[in-house]
């Protein structure tokens, strides 16, 4: 994952590509996350201005959805599914292993990685599942988790 900083020109282009329609705010924010990885205060100001909304309106939407981070995440994002099918196959233990293996608690970030729970990746017949940088992996155990994470460490950008 690249670590693009906010760029006013790029942000403006994204808004324009949605014809600055305020009803597209959720989709525009998605595009911002794709481009900038997180939603900064500058993004919120720009969106309020260009969509003719109040900053409170934009902030309300940003803070509602968990995909819209308001802090810079780690270089890699690791999500461990903690929904019921994965629980039935040991996701609680896997989450504990992930915390230990990455040396970081759930919901926390360091420069390298962000570790988060996720509630269902729709891979429930291959539980437990994790998602790493947007790719879903199934039938994960502690060993397989460490293998996947090790390839990340090798691939630092």
């Amino acid at each position: 994952m690249t670590r693009n900083a906010f760029d006013e020109k790029a942000a403006h282009e994204i808004v324009a590509s949605f014809d600055a329609r305020p009803e597209m705010l959720v989709q525009i924010l998605r595009a911002f996350v794709d481009k900038f990885t997180w939603i900064s205060e500058e993004s919120i100001r720009l969106l309020a201005r260009e969509l003719n909304l109040s900053r409170a309106d934009v902030h309300g939407v940003v803070s509602y959805y968990c995909d819209f981070r308001t802090e810079r995440p780690g270089q890699h994002i690791v999500k461990v599914c903690q929904a019921e099918a994965c629980q039935a196959m040991g996701s609680r233990q896997l989450s504990a292993h992930a915390e230990q293996s990455l040396g970081i608690e759930m919901h926390k970030s360091n420069d390298h990685v962000t570790l988060e729970p996720v509630y269902c990746l729709g891979n429930c017949a291959c539980s437990p599942a994790v998602m790493i940088d947007g790719r879903t992996y199934g039938r994960i155990n502690a060993g397989r988790f460490d293998e996947l994470v090790a390839t990340l460490q090798g691939g630092d950008q």
Binding site: E23, Y65, D67, A85, Q87, C124, T136
Partner: protein, 517 residues
């Protein structure tokens, strides 16, 4: 020499266990061996436990090889996989796999069979035949056949689809909408995803039929963001449909217009609730609306809107093709037709099983699923997602029927079946139900917003043995309050799993302390 066709699914579950790497490896091996092959990235048949499932077309018969690993590829080629040769991974003809042939594949029949984004393949398998037929008849006739089918919403609420459509059709408005709910957030469910990845054009056809029936010219698919692989597949299918005149203005010269747009959610479970979804589609926070007015009267942007689940919409094409009566001949009583059951969690043969209603939970778990993956005894089964009850092993003979489930205080929901073995601590599962509600509550109504947090606290006290009896009674009362007074199913049904644990596994609250070390 004609190229041998090899099928390797491009589907989330298959890829999650290595299907992409298998496809690359097969291509490389074929090149090295000088063999001419064509790799088709199909959807999954739903025998997920066999993934990655590779099929080879041998003279028109598809020969399946299951649980293929990268290290198997050289051996498979030397065993003559291209001619369907013997190998320890070889299962035999796909059409002979009992898990698949014993299903009632009304809605998922193209899943696994075709190349999902190929218009030619779709058309060769009856694709858009139902839409053509619908466009030649009166919209009322389409609604009549959906009414006759007895189809109920497969998203979980089970509302009769034909009645919803008729309401929208009879509500006068300049603009109406069709919204496909593809925010499949329930833990233990993946049928919407499998259909969208395996037969996306089938969904588009169903949406177009719905739009024609109710007089809508614009549709949206609201896809959850946890399905990143589904997104490009849907985009490709939509583009293919536009290109060949099955979406857009004046579809196939019929005078009927239908535009379709894909929106992606942003990680909110409640956005699977229809009014929260409409808010999100309008660019707002996904906060539940009061009902009434129903979305069928005042939905998206205040206009009459059909909101249906993916599987519901995809089931319609064959209802138009084969007749509502035919669909209604499957199933029992008021549960007509088929449901795509999803076998998940601690199960040996997990996957998707589309069967007529009336099959028992035990048949699904034992005959199809083969029991637990761990080999231990089944202790509890959660049916219908995080808002569904935990069913004890003693009740596995309950048949899949909306009313039969209601009688045991359970729900079929979206058809997810999550199996737990006897190592599960059910107090922890009850606690999770409340915790999940606290995490995902939209916050609009108090019983859900506050009740869920109080629920976690009360359960923690019970587990710790603090004033156990008082807290037990308090939890029962809290469940009543949440069920009676919440605005939507999030708070209103979270009591289902909690109460089922109180009713069937209450001892786990007092033993949790030791079990939890």
């Amino acid at each position: 020499m004609t190229a041998t066709r090899i099928y390797v699914p491009r589907e989330t579950a298959a890829i999650s266990v290595g299907a992409d790497d298998i496809a690359i490896s097969i291509a490389r091996q074929a090149k090295e061996s000088g063999e001419s092959i064509e790799i088709v990235r199909n959807g999954s048949w739903g025998a997920t436990w066999l993934e990655p499932l590779v099929e080879v077309d041998v003279g028109g018969n598809r020969i399946a090889y299951g649980n293929v690993e990268i290290t198997d590829i050289p051996g498979l080629f030397s065993s003559g996989i291209l001619g369907g040769g013997e190998h320890e991974r070889r299962i035999g003809p796909t059409i002979d796999i009992p898990y698949l042939i014993n299903q009632d594949r009304w809605t998922f029949w193209r899943c696994g069979l075709i190349d999902p984004t190929s218009m030619d393949d779709f058309r060769a398998h009856k694709g858009f035949g139902a839409l053509e037929k619908a466009l030649e008849s009166d919209p009322d006739i389409v609604i009549e056949s959906v009414l006759a089918s007895g189809l109920r919403g497969r998203g979980g609420a089970g509302f009769p689809t034909g009645i919803k459509w008729r309401t929208v059709a009879e509500t006068a408005a300049e603009q109406k909408y069709v919204v496909c709910n593809a925010d499949e957030g329930d833990g233990g469910t993946f049928s919407d995803r499998m259909l969208m990845e395996g037969d996306p054009l089938g969904l588009i056809e169903g949406m177009a039929i719905a739009a024609y029936a109710v007089g809508a010219s614009c549709g949206y698919i609201y896809l959850r963001s946890e399905y990143p692989l589904t997104h490009p597949i849907l985009l490709r299918a939509i583009a293919a449909a536009y290109k060949s005149g099955w979406l857009g203005k004046d579809i196939q010269g019929s005078g009927f217009d239908f535009d379709l747009e894909l929106h992606v959610g942003a990680g909110s479970y409640v956005c699977g609730e229809e009014t929260a979804m409409l808010e999100s589609l309008e660019g707002k926070a996904g906060i539940v609306r009061y009902k009434p007015p129903l979305p069928a009267i005042k939905g998206l942007f205040g206009k009459p809107t059909v909101v249906n689940n993916v599987v519901t919409l995809a089931s319609v094409a064959n209802i138009v093709n084969l007749g509502g009566d035919r669909y209604a001949s499957f199933g029992v009583d008021r549960s007509k037709g088929t449901l795509a059951f999803q076998l998940a969690g601690n199960i040996k043969r997990g996957g998707l099983v589309e069967k007529a209603f009336g099959i028992s939970l035990r048949e699904l778990i034992e005959d199809w699923g083969g029991g637990t993956a761990s080999g231990r005894n089944v202790r509890a089964v959660q049916v219908g997602g995080p808002l569904g009850a935990y069913i004890p092993a003693e009740q596995l003979d309950t048949v899949m029927d909306y009313e039969a489930f209601a009688r045991i205080d359970a729900t079929i929901g979206h058809g997810g079946i999550v199996v737990f073995d006897d190592t599960v601590n059910m107090a922890q599962q009850a606690r999770f139900a409340m915790e999940f509600c606290a995490i995902e509550s939209c916050g609009k109504c108090t019983p859900c917003r506050i009740g869920s947090t109080r629920g976690v606290e009360v359960i923690d006290k019970m587990i710790e043995g603090v004033e156990y009896d008082q807290n037990h009674d308090l939890l029962v009362e809290l469940c009543d309050t949440m069920e009676d007074a919440s605005l939507c199913a999030m708070g209103g049904m979270t009591p289902y799993p909690v109460r089922s644990v109180l009713n069937h596994f209450v001892d786990d609250f007092s033993s949790a302390q030791e079990a939890d070390k």
